[in-house]
């Protein structure tokens, strides 16, 4: 993929504790799955860096290539790709998400 775009993702995901690439924003999600992810994180009192992929087609396609993951939303914690809505929900239900966020 484009080196500049990759560098952007590297910097963004490592420079913030939690990053969510989503449709819409944390305050106004534009898709049910993005809304669900935002809600889980907010329920844990986690502030996250939100990136609205709808605002930039290059980001929207680029992030899928970056993670080999075909869908949005995509969640990163401590610079590591964690998954989408299903995985975040599952980790939350098992109590593992709170641990990953340093709340365990």
């Amino acid at each position: 993929m484009d080196a500049k775009l990759k560098e952007r993702f590297d910097t963004e995901t490592k420079g913030n504790k939690v990053v969510v690439y989503m449709k819409g924003t944390a305050i106004a999600p534009m898709c049910g799955f993005s809304a669900a992810v935002a809600q889980i994180l907010q329920s844990l009192g986690v502030k996250f860096h939100d990136v609205n992929v709808l605002a930039d087609p290059e980001i929207r396609e680029g992030i899928k290539e970056y993670t080999s993951w075909p869908t949005i939303p995509q969640v990163f914690i401590d610079g590591k790709f964690v998954g989408g809505c299903d995985i975040l929900t599952e980790l939350h239900q098992k109590g593992e998400l709170a641990k990953m966020l340093g709340q365990g």
Binding site: F33, W69, V82, C85, D86
Partner: protein, 80 residues
């Protein structure tokens, strides 16, 4: 896409897998899938989902718009 089509893609693609697929809206593009497969042993959740996405060509075609996925090994399934 029909639920049965997804079920057979998964069961043929993953040895010894059992899959349950339901069409959530009746529209043929929103699915809920539960899969129990030995192939998930030792894989992270991300790796399991990537495996399923590849088999179903999610992202490569627009046939599936939304997929809710639960993956288990036989051992994990026994504890559910």
């Amino acid at each position: 896409m029909e639920p049965d089509e997804i079920k057979s893609l998964l069961e043929q693609g993953l040895e010894g897998a059992r899959a349950e697929v339901s069409d959530m809206t009746g529209g043929g593009d929103h699915f809920e899938v539960t899969i129990v497969a030995p192939a998930f042993e030792g894989l992270s959740l991300v790796e399991r989902h990537q495996l399923v996405y590849r088999l179903l060509n999610v992202g490569g075609s627009e046939a599936i718009h939304a997929l809710s996925l639960k993956t288990y090994t036989a051992e994990e399934w026994a504890r559910v």
